[in-house]
Assembly symmetry: C2
Homo-oligomer: 478 residues x 2
């Protein structure tokens, strides 16, 4: 009997869901538009609130509508309305001395200027991150103990933080012992130390193409060379191209971002991750895995780092809390596998140890559950911001524009028509107080002359929409 | 008339001072003993309190007695009771690949173990530094503003801190503009970035002999070579030896500690500093100046950094607040002269920027005067601890022991009889839960087999005296 009622109810909310989907398909409700609130729909159509709630949840599961915090439900963009994605890259197989323009420093300076629309640096909005909560956690630590974090500590870093990181790794199915973790000043220091642990000046590092300009700058500063490997905007680095380069003995180590690559946002399928490990093991090539965006998945589950499947200690995993808690705290970490001793020694000579007080505050956020709570909110917000930015690109950018479909993080990689010079567009946009990251920064040889990276780290606003309209207009007249 | 009374009073307090000096010379009052309080002496001898105070001040000026905070006046050690100083070093003029033993990591780990007597690492006691006050300053900043220090900042670092550093440089007579300063994670990062800015792997860096093992480790980690230069425990590096090395084109850059060298504690006379600059300018050789102990002078005035006299931008000044406020905050800085652009770029690729929240707290300590207040206290305490440790060495160490007379800082460099193997002594001492720094760590070629460095960063106690007695006994039986 109960079963029958349950079935009838299921039937009812499915009907409601079907009805709404019809309205969307007929164009009565358009992508991006708000749909009636649960209460209003219930009153207007004479169905119970719980039925409407179930119907909306079903539509949300199917990706037809989406909830936005404190705002209600909206119709999602349909994929057929999206511009196409950029094609796989085809950089020539030749290592290059890196030369990243000083422009990067300008892009970072723009962060500090509130008058500039922030599509440039990959820097999330303060309003999204639980920064106040984090500062409060630090305040509580200071009140509890007078002497917290004021003296030197071991080079590995703060033990409670390493404990929390170790615990979280278990969640994605991997055991990293506390003492196999070294905390660092941001992911930047982690990448730096790991590169120095596995390669020497003059050595060649395989990277995705395009890749984060910060990685190229680190390689440049260490007088190493970068070898850009063909990369698919859906599945990440081409394993075929990578193996060819390795087989030709061109590569000393790899530095890759398998999860939510910067700037592509792609995530390597699990089978690719395992195959990548087989290649690395065959040739004994270490890989530095930059997982800084790994916690920012838009889907249901966190993708596993390649490190999870590593039996040989060849993967040096690097991450930080700069995109999820606070960039100003400068707290990152690395689990460098078999290279731990070298990385530990380099940590001592580079910065001695990380700052224990800030580590304690981060550890507290991880311990008390605040981190997971906020992460859910941040992930939704990023997914939404990426979607709305994509929609605006669709609306305002010139015909022929292509754009990635990131599966995590908050970055979009935009291919503009060949006539557009991204560096010129950068300058024109800056004159209109809009910061963007031009494509040539993402290549050792300044490829991608007609690409830009847009950061969607800030909550959607009329100002952002206006800025994208301006960008589209500028690009359209080049 | 007034003049006459003033003269008579001067005469009186000079008489009192003379009388006390007599008691000391006769052995009635012994070195290290407390002398009667001003009040008691006044009552016992029927002289006014102000006369006694003037007499004590005169004796203090003459170095006969000394005030200890909250404790009273004590008879100082007389120099004729001190062991002799070590002689000038004579390392061979040959650059060497550095190889610092992993022992250094063990010495640092000892800091975290409260059961080990801390003569090893150059780490001041928490009870001496205004760490609680600093943490309170940070707490106040957190209460004032929710979003303090949570986002990325420019590579130069926090502006209020750079402002305060710039202001303080004026006190020792030098103008360094805010924007010519880059904040770093400790002096360690500053030295690291500056070395990379002026030299390449394979290049040779001239250093004092002996020198701080951390400097040798940084040179090693950057795959540079160290050239040890003869150094006088009174006046610092031998300019003659340095110029010879430079003239022979053996040196790419220098890394020196002109003020209170680690481990010697010596301070270069001003004329030597100026002559050093003339040599550097003649051959266009950059010098990294490690001034981390500069604020910890035992005498009346702060010695000026070589940077003060530099007209050519060849000096890259480096310092930190690790020895005066908190090592755990990891806040240092550099004023890299004409190498600013290179250092700024390296800062971005090394750690992006320093952590603004901790910088704000340090800036607040500098701004509100707390820093100067505590500095006076710390300087006195270090001077006293160095003196008492010297006295105990005098008492307990084997005949033939020599020890430096540091003019600032809190380190002693001790030359033991040739029969003593410092590395063996280190192991024996550690078995007795005493940490020391053996001499070979302070040389690229592990010279100084019978030397040790003792850190006097902790307030004097019966436990420290006992540990020195144990050390003396161990050394005496080798």
């Amino acid at each position: 009997m109960l079963n029958k009622i349950a079935n009838a109810e299921q039937h009812l909310y499915e009907q409601v869901a079907h009805q709404i989907q019809g309205l969307i398909e007929q164009g009565t409700l358009r992508p991006g538009e708000r749909i009636p609130s649960v209460r209003r729909f219930s009153a207007q159509n004479g169905v119970s609130i719980s039925t409407v709630m179930q119907a909306y949840a079903l539509l949300e599961d199917h990706g037809v509508i989406e909830a936005r915090p404190q705002s209600g439900y909206y119709v999602r963009l349909r994929s057929r309305e999206l511009p196409p994605e950029p094609a796989i890259s085809h950089p020539p197989l030749a290592a290059a001395r890196v030369n990243v323009p000083d422009l990067v420093i300008r892009i970072h300076e723009a962060i500090e200027n509130p008058d500039i629309v922030p599509f440039g640096a990959a820097c999330p909005s303060l309003d999204l991150l639980p920064s106040r909560k984090l500062n409060r956690a630090l305040g509580a630590i200071l009140r509890r103990t007078n002497y917290a974090g004021v003296t030197y500590q071991s080079a590995l870093g703060n033990q409670p933080l390493r404990h929390q990181i170790s615990r979280r790794a278990l969640d994605w199915g991997h055991h990293i012992a506390e003492n196999d973790i070294i905390t660092t000043f941001g992911c930047t220091e982690a990448l730096n130390l790991c590169l120095r642990a596995v390669a020497e000046p003059g050595d060649t590092i395989a990277v995705e193409s395009p890749t984060y300009f910060g990685i190229l700058q680190i390689i440049e500063s260490l007088k190493m060379k970068a070898l850009e490997i063909a990369t698919d905007p859906k599945t990440g680095v081409s394993l075929e191209a990578l193996e060819t380069a390795i087989r030709k003995r061109m590569v000393k180590a790899c530095l890759l971002m398998p999860n939510f690559q910067n700037p592509l946002g792609c995530c390597m399928p699990e089978e690719n991750k395992k195959e990548l490990l087989r290649i690395l093991a065959r040739y004994e090539i270490p890989m530095i895995e930059d997982d800084i965006y790994g916690d920012l998945y838009h889907g249901a589950d966190r993708p596993q780092p390649v490190k999870t499947f590593d039996k040989n200690g060849l993967v040096l995993l690097c991450a930080s809390f700069s995109k999820t808690l606070s960039a100003g705290y400068r707290i990152g970490w690395t689990a460098p596998g078999r290279f731990k001793t070298q990385v530990e020694r380099l940590k001592v000579t580079n910065t001695m140890s990380t700052a224990p007080l800030l580590e304690l505050a981060i550890a507290e956020m991880l311990r008390n559950g605040g981190y997971d709570h906020y992460l859910r909110r941040i992930r939704k917000a990023y997914a939404l911001q990426v979607q709305l930015t994509t929609r605006a690109i669709c609306k305002y950018f010139p015909e022929g524009t292509k754009v990635t479909r990131p599966l995590g993080g908050f970055l979009l990689w935009v291919e503009l028509p060949k006539s557009v010079n991204a560096l010129a567009l950068y300058r024109k946009a800056l004159a209109e107080k809009i910061s963007i990251a031009p494509g040539p920064l993402f290549s050792a040889k300044q490829r991608y002359p007609n690409f830009i990276r847009l950061s969607c780290g800030h909550p959607w606003s009329a100002e952002l929409e206006q800025a994208l309209a301006t960008l589209g207009r500028l690009a359209g007249t080049m």
